[in-house]
Symmetry: C2
Subunit: 172 residues, 2 copies
DNA sequence: CCTACAAGTTAACCTTGGCTAAAATACTAG
DNA sequence: CTAGTATTTTAGCCAAGGTTAACTTGTAGG
């Protein structure tokens, strides 16, 4: 198991991309008031807390649907993480009432877990389809969607969905 | 060794129980191969590692530009976090060669830090303007951009930028 | 010059999410 | 039924990013 594939930032940083018309982009915006600024960061921190849980729950739902059962081994392989880590996280998911299972047996979602999975899945799909509709390649769209999905508000989701729909009807 | 593939053994079951999602979204997308799937999650984990560092560096750059100096107090207020946390994180930033400062004095970016700030800022701006061009309200666009910016690949950034440009020229 | 308050640091603690190694349990041939 | 392999869990480690509380340092006012 070699979980860490390196897409390192520091390395990628050096090849500065094409200039982005700095005059219009950057320094026009003044800093927002402190408290509002803080709320933005708080929102991100908050998203981070649930992100991993959502990913697990979503993956478990996918496995249940596509393979009939959700086993720790498969989760570990798909998440690129050791089984021990999965075990520990699942314990947490259970304590949060999202997952149920008997020791040494495969996993199930509680109602709460299924609700979360459904929402998460839907968001994921909307973001993924939106990126594709925008013209992003499939491989990249998948990666970006995985990272973005937890940080997209309902308002933006609605707009993305509308965009995708229009794009599709236009191209058909 | 004998890798007993436990993959085939569920093949016959084909449960396919529920159809929860609306069929527009239900993407008959099968699961991607495990290793590819793992890479997606690895990319997200990787982004998380640098996310906070980028946020700090970006904020420090903003403060230097708009207020002439970057003090821990301001950072703490803007990040919505205690000063102790800032102090600890700054220590880490220093050890990574992104920030420099003398004890009890305000902060500066190294060249490396400035490069990171510039890139980060650029990405942030592209995402923010894209969201606005899409029609997302300012307040929400700011929040979403803050969360999304670290998860958007170069390919997607380019596409976003093109979209924003087209949108603007169309409306002028 | 000295003192009080603001700002920065340090210490001690917590939770999360990784890891490896080892123990416990389940499964499948033979 | 038993042995051997596969899977799951447990134990012990680590770093990151939070917290409070206590301590140090910087800086203005009297």
């Amino acid at each position: 198991m070699l979980p860490y594939e390196h897409f390192g930032y520091i390395g990628a940083m050096t090849d500065s991309p094409n200039e982005v018309t700095p005059d219009r982009l950057s320094q026009a915006d003044a800093l927002p008031p402190s408290d509002q600024h803080a709320q933005q960061y708080a929102a991100v921190r908050n998203a981070h807390e649930t992100e991993l849980l959502e990913d697990y729950v979503e993956l478990i739902a996918d496995l249940l649907e596509h393979q009939g059962e959700a086993r720790s081994t498969d989760i570990a392989a798909r998440m690129g993480v050791s089984q021990a880590t999965v075990s520990k996280t699942v314990t947490r998911l259970k304590s949060l009432g999202l997952v149920s299972s008997k020791p040494y047996r495969s996993l199930f979602l509680t109602e709460k877990g299924e609700a979360m999975a459904a929402m998460s899945n839907q968001r994921h799909a909307i973001v993924l389809q939106f990126l594709r509709a925008l013209g992003v390649s499939d491989r990249i769209a998948r990666i970006d969607a995985e990272g973005m999905e937890h940080h997209v508000s309902q308002e933006t989701l609605d707009i993305m969905q509308r965009f995708t729909r229009e794009q599709e009807s236009r191209s058909s």
